[in-house]
Amino acid sequence: MSFEVDVGRRLGDADIRLCFTAGAGLTALFGPSGAGKSSVLNMVAGLLEPDRGRIAVAGDTLFDAAHGIDLPPERRRAGYVFQDGRLFPHKRVRANLAYGERLADPARRWIGFDETVDFLGIAALLDRWPRSLSGGEAQRVAIGRALLSAPRFLLMDEPLASLDAPRRGEIMTVIERIRDELAIPILYVSHDRAEVERLATTIVAMG
């Protein structure tokens, strides 16, 4: 199994609980806003600690409350693409892309810098500051930054939400190619049915 998730966490008044397993390809967490989909991604990434449960990816346990296992985010090898891109504003595009690549174990890198830049078509953006990028450009750079950190799996939190229709189609094509050509498991959050139906290998309903 690519993803084995069984977690619970109390956040304010909401009690988020989710249990699913999923195989290869793109697994979509689908549900209305406020159902706790992003919180589940944060728990898988290690940014939010579940109150109870277990998280394993590709057979490796990342979190297990019963056995006191809780890998810090930097050791989970998650390539996280955030809804708002979340590029580092004080670094140019090139340095943003290289940030995770330089920290990754060279033996574990599975895609090169130039290859990533070609794959995403962002060669012309390398010397730009994040502030000067459009939403679609920023999201492609964010995807590249995640791919270059030698991740075992990708987490995508509504990566199309802040884009206009033509850009959405463009980024969706990129995500399909990552799913099919790079064959890396993806956990994908969305509240858009059409998007999920087009991209998902497995759909997990939430909320």
Partner: protein
């Protein structure tokens, strides 16, 4: 040059005292700013108030408290004398200490604001990309809060250059040791016929403060060229 040897001496001492005060304060101020911006603990309000105390207490009182603590018979004074061989009484080191204490609240305020302005979600992004806590601090938090750190340092420097009350109370007005610009101006005002000295020193201190502010503006613009606003 334009300045007399005595004026050079005063200027040199002022710069030395202020530079040492700011260097002494920087790590302490940043640590306090960090604790106040990010920490959650009982007594935080009290620590906040303590840090701000030199801003609101009469400088004379701060000088007197320093005298009690760091004087020849004060507990802190004896400790420094015994373990580090540093004495503060009637020395430029005392002037630097007084300037540092008075500059601390201003520096903490500027740094705290800039640490609070750092988007913590960027730190989360850095962690998922493989950076541990310390590396995340060095590569994300520190650079993003740098404009505030620079602004705080320059503010502290300007405040130190202007420090008067706590200094004269704590370490008196001794030429070559504790007679910084404001103390020299005050001294000259006490002597009839020294108006021209007062004018020259006053112009000097205005120019110095102006240079500090221009330098801070230039530095924070350079640090901020990546596009983030303080």
């Amino acid at each position: 040059m334009l300045l007399s040897p005595d004026e050079w001496e005063i200027l040199r001492l002022s710069l030395k005292v202020s530079a040492v005060a700011v260097c002494l304060c920087l790590p302490i101020a940043f640590g306090l700013a960090w604790i106040l911006a990010r920490g959650r603990f009982p007594g935080k309000i009290l620590l906040d108030a303590l840090v701000h105390l030199p801003l609101v207490v009469p400088p004379v009182v701060v000088g007197w408290l320093l005298l009690l603590a760091f004087g020849t018979n004060g507990p802190a004074g004896r400790w420094f004398e015994h373990w580090l061989g540093i004495s503060f009484m009637f020395r430029w080191t005392g002037a630097a200490l007084a300037a540092a204490v008075m500059a601390l609240p201003l520096m903490v305020r500027a740094m705290r604001l800039s640490i609070e302005a750092v988007d913590r979600r960027l730190e989360g992004a850095a962690r998922t990309l493989g950076a541990g806590r310390w590396l995340t601090f060095l590569t994300i938090t520190l650079p993003l809060s740098l404009p505030g750190v620079v602004a705080g340092a320059v503010l502290g420097f300007a405040r130190s250059i202007g420090e008067f009350g706590a200094t004269i109370t704590f370490v008196s007005n001794i030429p070559g040791e504790t007679r910084t610009l404001p103390l020299a101006i005050y001294g000259a005002l006490q002597v009839p016929g020294e108006e021209s000295v007062v004018t020259r020193l006053a112009i000097l201190s205005v120019l110095l403060s102006l240079a500090a502010l221009v330098a801070s503006e230039a530095l924070s613009r350079r640090a901020g060229r990546g596009g983030h606003v303080l």
